[in-house]
């Protein structure tokens, strides 16, 4: 079933019938397995990977480094989960190294990110400091190149 998960992470829009044909399974087996993964949280969701430069208003994306004071008993979890709950936060990771949380924030404008950091993030008890980096250009996301260059072409017929 690893092959099924592997294929779904590459292209989740394939129908159960299409997936089954590629993996020598039946459509019913594919449906049962994906339903089980959705139920147990192995599969959290399905999304389109969008190039914001092609959309009318792509908004802005920022990566915020956050330093936290860990709590006795709970470590970073309670605070990290609280940060992750904000709608503006698309990704939230606990990191090793010079800071604790890497928080990716998506918003309509620079001001909106600034407001989120100043009013929401920094004011949380336990947040020691934040450093905000704005994204300038995307070259690759989720395995997709923004401007894929076709590899050298083959002859149409070869022995």
């Amino acid at each position: 079933m690893d092959a099924l998960l592997d294929l779904l992470t590459k292209d989740s829009r394939l129908s159960p019938e299409d997936l089954a044909a590629r993996l020598n399974l039946t459509a019913a087996e594919v449906k049962a397995q994906t339903a089980a993964w959705e139920a147990d949280g192995t599969i959290l969701g399905y999304q389109a990977v969008v190039d914001p430069e092609k959309t009318a208003n792509g908004g802005v994306t920022a990566l915020i480094e956050v330093r936290l004071t860990p709590e006795r008993g709970g470590g970073f979890d309670r605070l990290a989960e609280r940060v992750a709950k904000f709608d503006q936060v698309s990704t939230c990771w606990l990191m090793s190294g010079g800071y604790d949380l890497a928080v990716v924030v998506q918003a309509a404008s620079l001001q909106e990110v600034a407001r989120f950091v100043a009013e929401k993030l920094s004011t949380l008890g336990g947040v020691l400091s934040t450093v905000t980096h704005f994204q300038l250009k995307i070259y690759k996301q989720n395995g997709f190149l923004s401007a894929p260059v076709p590899d050298g072409s083959r002859l149409p017929i070869t022995p």
Partner: protein, 401 residues
């Protein structure tokens, strides 16, 4: 070429017919925007780490000749790889020769082995160059036809029938182009027994041996008892490592056979290109993971292609290896050539007529699935529409069991 030159061409070369595949190539070129399932090479580019190794060697100025046999470091890598994969040990100093593709290795072997009139038994349908290469080495090609009833696998009994006092070599290539057929280990043992009994040399072209599906393992005939001393194992980098354009292959054989091939190689080729040889070391030493990713992609596509072709009423067996499907197109009432030509005209999809690979390919076409899944899906839908449109009325078909 002006027509006045033609009479000067050697009779033997004039006698070689124009390749069916070349003819079809020109048809496809003229057809314009075509989805081609007619290629015989991976759609992946060579994995980046291998290309990078080639670039680095150029930066370092590695642009010289190498030893006639190939870089010793590469021969050591080959020896290690072959030992791990086929469980047979070859001495990198005396039993390995690096060539410009398996194509050159084949040419060397036939020229080194054959006296005029000696026969080589090989299977058909098969890769297009076996018969002409044997012929150009003054040998006599003896085709043994494999059949759809056996999923185009070669049977030892069929080989035995073709053996004559003139037989010198048996040529194997499994998994094979164009059918994707694999060899049953029992039949392989049967062929080894024949080779020993009749004192024959076996040439085994292992070019597709990494591309095997369904947990198959691939025994090579050279690993069977008594076979190493009478076998020339050939392999290359084109298919498994997606390195067709590097043109690199090798042969492993007992010292006296390797030496004989080297005699020809040193005067005709001198050595294989050094850039390709350096890239090949990287492929053998660090290429296993990217190769496995490609193999998995081919496996998924094979499943897709076989299920869609069968769904379209074109009976297709599940090929055990390589990256070709070989559908039976007789339900359309067309010949292979007619099917391929009309599919090209009506649906802009290119496949290769089975007859390009020998007479036994009549009634079949080769569809290569080394193409990305989106294009493949469109092509298969078009083939299905074509097959539906041209299906002979079911009433006129003989009942099948």
């Amino acid at each position: 070429m002006s027509s006045s030159v033609k009479p000067k061409i050697a009779d033997r070369i004039q006698a070689i017919p124009r390749s069916g595949i070349r003819e079809f190539f020109e048809l496809v070129l003229n057809a314009g925007d075509v989805i081609s399932l007619g290629v015989g090479e991976p759609d992946f580019s060579t994995p980046w780490h291998i290309r990078e190794a080639a670039i680095y060697s150029l930066e370092k100025g590695q642009t010289s000749y190498t030893s006639n046999l190939g870089l010793l470091e590469l021969r050591k890598s080959i020896s290690k790889y072959v030992s791990k994969k086929f469980h047979v040990d070859y001495d990198p100093a005396r039993e390995v020769i690096v060539t410009v593709g398996v194509s050159e290795a084949l040419d060397l072997a036939f020229r080194a082995l054959l006296n005029p009139g000696e026969e080589v038994i090989y299977h058909e349908p098969c890769y297009v160059s076996y018969s002409p290469t044997i012929y150009m080495a003054y040998g006599v090609p003896v085709a043994v036809e494999t059949s759809a009833d056996d999923d185009f696998a070669l049977r030892a009994a069929a080989v035995e029938k073709a053996i004559t006092p003139k037989t010198k070599v048996i040529m194997l290539n499994f998994p094979t182009n164009p059918t994707g057929a694999v060899m049953d280990p029992k039949e392989l043992q049967g062929i080894a027994d024949l080779a020993i009994k009749h004192d024959l040399i076996v040439i085994t072209d292992e070019i597709y041996s990494e591309l095997l599906y369904d947990e198959r393992t691939h025994p090579s005939i050279t690993a069977l008892p008594g076979m190493k001393e009478r076998t020339i194992l050939m392999h290359g980098f084109s298919k498994a490592f997606a390195m067709t354009g590097f043109r690199l292959g090798y042969a492993c054989a007992p010292p006296e056979l390797t030496e004989a091939m080297m005699k020809i190689h040193q005067y005709s080729m001198l050595c294989a290109g050094i850039t390709a040889q350096v890239a090949a070391i990287e492929a053998l030493e660090h290429g296993a993971a990217p190769m496995e990713e490609m193999r998995k992609a081919y496996w998924r596509r094979r499943n897709l292609v076989v299920s869609k072709l069968n769904g379209a009423g074109l009976k297709t067996f599940q090929p055990g290896g390589a990256f070709y499907a070989f559908p039976d197109i007789r339900s359309t009432g067309m010949t292979s050539r007619e099917f391929a030509t009309r599919l090209l005209e009506e649906e802009k999809v290119a496949v290769v007529p089975g007859t390009a690979f020998g007479k036994a390919g009549e009634g079949f076409v080769r569809a290569c699935y080394a193409t990305d899944e989106k294009q493949l899906t469109i092509a298969l839908d078009r083939i299905a529409a074509f097959a539906q449109r041209h299906r002979k009325s079911l009433i006129t078909l003989a009942p099948t069991p």
